[in-house]
């Protein structure tokens, strides 16, 4: 059973500064073999910088990192044989056809000419690109391009795949195609480090999450774990008379329960920290004669979790919300 606990990626105290900017400020993380780690963070959090360090594209200022047991600093060439990279960068050659791109990468990975041809054909087939194989990649649609990127990163049968925002800019249908492919790769035993800004993507694909912001890890764990860490459920109340929203929020405040509302959605939201609060809320509103059209409770979405952890206007106080509306 020990092999299940092996880490495909181990990162210890990686630091990368660009002048005053601390792109990475002491990042630690691990990805267990055969799992998908979702690396979440807003733009500029350091996600891409980390992937670039782990693909030997940039050297960290401090810290150590191992991928597949290889040291990023001391064994870059062996490490490159164990990884595949698909991202916002590390692109294919637009002037070359899909087939030629894959063949080229095969040859650069030391496949024989025959092996490289066979592997290119196999991956084109698998990613439904056989028909477009001979056309220059420049004419591919966004989805085809991304599939070719994925295929390119898989030529060498990498043990560890980095997917850097693989669906950014794709329409929902294409995004689902990419997700299916990623799930299939994981099913075949690949370890995946996935960076994304989309919670939905992380929820779909990741086994575990690491949240980074301003170059630091601010949370990590399983998705459920993070949700409970943020705690509680969120209660949403739909009033009979939406114009009463501000008054309802004030009433709950007086009862010691912070609530927010949105005039746009016409909902009053309450962050429930213990089970008794639901009764208190309904009681307080009922006593004051506010009409309730409906209520709903749910676990916080990853978006809410994320916003709570990064501390960016997580559950805003009513006064702030009003200012925002005004």
């Amino acid at each position: 059973m020990t092999e299940i606990l092996r880490n495909a990626v181990e990162v210890h105290g990686i630091v990368k500064h660009y002048g005053e900017t601390k792109a990475l400020d002491g990042v630690d993380l691990t990805v267990r073999e055969g799992t998908v780690l979702g690396l979440l963070g807003p733009n500029g959090a350091g996600k891409t910088t980390l992937v670039r360090v782990l693909s030997t594209l940039i050297k960290p200022d401090a810290g150590t990192a191992f991928v597949g047991g290889y040291d990023v600093l001391r064994q870059p060439k062996q490490l490159r044989r164990t990884i595949g990279l698909t991202g916002q960068y590390a692109s294919v050659d637009e002037l070359l056809s899909g087939y030629e791109n894959l063949y080229l990468i095969g040859r650069l990975l030391d496949l024989s000419s025959r092996e490289a041809k066979a592997r290119a054909a196999e991956l084109l087939e698998r990613f439904s690109l056989t028909e477009a194989a001979k056309r220059p990649a420049k004419g591919y649609s966004g989805g085809m391009r991304r599939r070719l990127d994925l295929a390119a990163s898989m030529i060498g049968r990498p043990k560890v795949l980095y997917l850097d925002e693989p669906t950014t800019g794709l329409d929902p249908r294409t995004r689902n195609e990419v997700w299916d492919e990623v799930q299939r790769m994981v099913g075949e035993g690949s370890t995946v480090l996935l960076t994304t800004q989309y919670m939905e993507e992380a929820e779909q694909l990741a086994d575990e999450l690491t949240v980074i912001d301003k170059g630091r890890v601010i949370a990590n764990g399983g998705i459920q774990e993070l949700k409970t860490q943020v705690g509680g459920q969120s209660l949403q109340v739909r009033p009979l008379r939406p114009e009463e929203l501000p008054e309802m929020a004030r009433c709950l405040h007086e009862a010691g329960i912070p609530a927010t509302f949105s005039e746009e959605s016409g909902l009053l939201s309450v962050h429930l920290t213990d089970e008794g609060q639901l009764t208190t809320v309904i009681g307080a509103l009922g006593t004051r004669g506010f009409g309730i059209a409906g209520i709903d409770t749910k676990l916080p979405s990853l978006d809410e979790v994320f916003l709570t952890i990064t501390g960016k206007s997580s559950v805003p106080a009513p006064s702030r919300e009003k200012e925002a509306v005004a």
């Binding site: 055969g34 047991g69 490159r80 650069l108």
Partner: protein, 272 residues
């Protein structure tokens, strides 16, 4: 079942910086093939190397030729060899723009995540551009011969002229590489190269005899390496004595290489 596929972590440290000669040659071959396919996929990129000289030959020989010399043929024998000499410079310019494009589009990053030597990436570009220049030479010489250019010096001298042009062009590849890695876009590299090339080309002995120029320009022209290159190619193709021009070109090429190659390589290593 998975236990069998798990391999032990390799011992540290391992010297993995060496890539065998055979692997290096294979990478070089694959990358050169890629660069040649890029030229094939983008034939317009040959226009700079072919169409511009063709237009210049036609324009200068037939528009100015009669005024510049006693007849057009005489001017052709004067001007065309010098212009052919600059064909080697096109390969240098294309290297910088090509490199810039690879960095900009992320193709370079893809290569850098592969277990190949970075020198192969650079060398393959140089080989492809040299091959492109050779094709340009064949077409331009053929075109000029159809128009009536005499290779009085014979085929060996012609080869020597082509070789000299390539050697000088190769020395400028490093300058082009520096531009390619310093400027933001391929268009900027191209524009900058044009900006440098235009005065050098016209302020030389390629199109007109410097003795007809004012003193300040003559001084510039005299020390312009393109004048030496044009003089050398002209002498070789016309079978007249080359004098010191060939040596001057080689000294310039060596000088440019010694100064710019280490800078370019250092910058390339830093960025890759």
């Amino acid at each position: 079942m998975s236990a069998a596929t798990v391999t032990a972590a390799p011992a540290l440290p391992a010297d993995d910086t060496r890539i065998g000669l055979r692997a290096n040659l294979r990478h070089l071959g694959a990358l050169t093939r890629r660069n040649l396919m890029r030229i094939k996929a983008d034939p317009e990129s040959m226009l700079d190397a072919l169409l511009v000289p063709v237009i210049m030959i036609v324009l200068f020989v037939y528009v100015f030729g009669g005024a510049m010399a006693s007849n057009q043929h005489e001017y052709m024998q004067y001007m065309v060899p010098g212009l052919l000499g600059t064909t080697g410079l096109n390969l240098a310019m294309a290297l910088g723009t090509g490199l810039n494009t690879d960095f900009q589009t992320g193709v370079m990053d893809r290569f850098r995540t592969l277990p190949i030597g970075r020198s192969a990436v650079l060398l393959s570009k140089m080989i492809a551009e040299t091959l492109r220049a050779v094709v340009a030479f064949v077409v331009l010489i053929g075109f000029a011969m159809i128009l009536g250019l005499d290779i009085k010096g014979g085929p060996l001298n012609l080869l020597a002229a082509v070789g000299l042009s390539l050697v000088f062009g190769a020395s400028l590849m490093w300058v082009s590489m520096l531009l390619g890695m310093s400027l933001r876009s391929a268009q900027a590299v191209q524009g900058m190269s044009m900006l440098v090339m235009m005065p050098l080309q016209f302020g030389s002995s390629i199109f007109a005899n410097p003795s007809t120029m004012p003193g300040w320009l003559r001084a510039f022209t005299k020390h312009n390496p393109l004048s030496a290159l044009a003089d050398a190619c002209r002498a070789l193709i016309n079978g007249t004595p080359v004098g010191g021009s060939v040596v001057t070109v080689l000294v310039w090429a060596a000088g440019i290489t010694v100064v710019t190659a280490p800078l370019a390589v250092a910058r390339f290593r830093k960025r890759t």
